[in-house]
Symmetry: C2
Subunit: 250 residues, 2 copies
Amino acid sequence: MPTRLPPLRQDFLKNGAHVYLRHLSVDCVIFGFHENQLKVLLLKWQNGPWCLPGGFVKKHESLQESATRTLRERTALKDLFLQQFFAFGDPSREKGKSKNEEFKNTWLADRFITIGYYALVEHSKVKPRPDVLSDECAWWDIDSVPSMVYDHHQILEKAIDALRIDLYSHPVGYNLLPRKFTMPELQRLYETILGKGIDRRNFQKKMLSLKILERLKERKTGGAHKAPYFYRFNLTQYKRALTVGWAGWF
Amino acid sequence: MPTRLPPLRQDFLKNGAHVYLRHLSVDCVIFGFHENQLKVLLLKWQNGPWCLPGGFVKKHESLQESATRTLRERTALKDLFLQQFFAFGDPSREKGKSKNEEFKNTWLADRFITIGYYALVEHSKVKPRPDVLSDECAWWDIDSVPSMVYDHHQILEKAIDALRIDLYSHPVGYNLLPRKFTMPELQRLYETILGKGIDRRNFQKKMLSLKILERLKERKTGGAHKAPYFYRFNLTQYKRALTVGWAGWF
């Protein structure tokens, strides 16, 4: 830790409690999907460990607004649909915090409950950059994330569970796939998120039964196999399912 | 409002902030299921409106512990599996609160973020009773709940959505049905929660594919139709699915 804090940081530690609610933070788990890889976006504290991009809740801000602003300020990411997935409130979740000399006698020394949000983005479409408090902002493969502060590993695990469970009740893919795509491409997206193979016939049958896909007349040519049809999402149905979950599961 | 507050209530208003975290509460949506009816348990503030049973988070308590304790203290309900479903953090969620003279200049006048929990119980098995702050504790049919304080209607709506979506990813029924039950009885439970009819063949096929049911040799006799088989839950599989969601959806 630096012996002399920069002015901005001093002010944040000293006066943050006038701007933000006590005891409350937000943490964002940003999943990146690109070429059948699932990644997560992490920040590195200056001279410190890696962490999820997180922040605090201003006195007149909603939780969703806090998460959106935090992400914009800390990573320069905008226009993501952030999905709240869990509030983490174990009193021992911030292990090692009491040893942080910089936080001593400040509002940051208190216990914090953090509200977790996640989003899934096509990671080549976004250009994250670190904020003034961070050394780095980088994508990590979800199977090989570095050591992280506090309970951020558990928050990540819970976000992966939430993302997988949401696959069973909500549509996914609109902002991850090209406008028209084939059934095998959609299947690979699901397999990547679930971390396992799926039976081709069951997948196709299931997907078509959900009534969010429209088959185009065009086929994709150039592969070794029989040219597969292109599909696109029916956006009205897709958005409806995003809001209410699958109405037609049974 | 009474002009003179009872001592316990005075102390709570004056000194609560020494015991509880600021800005944070928990609210419990307790669904009761009995004879194909879905109900919700509500409290009535003394001389005031109806509300969900809620409370505050002690300084060294986890959120889950707060919800469990709150429910026990306020309704005498114990041993429920409370499922966290959403954190409500709209800054305007507590409409009318600023007019409450009793809260003025106390920690309760602050803005509160509330963490919602729900549980589903066989309501004839539990004996709720109101706490000292409430006039009544009663089950209401979910289609005809009375006017409630703040955003409690929205919290209830969100809990119903969460319960329905959880049906698609998690098993339900173990503590709601008798130890052995028929497929039509299980289907009626699902239909009641979803608020709609389900095709009998699809339901049976789906349920059997989830591998949480064991068919017994015994059949239920006495009905007008062909005697249906009894089933019971395979508890190992059931509990696994409760934790990880359906592994075998595809």
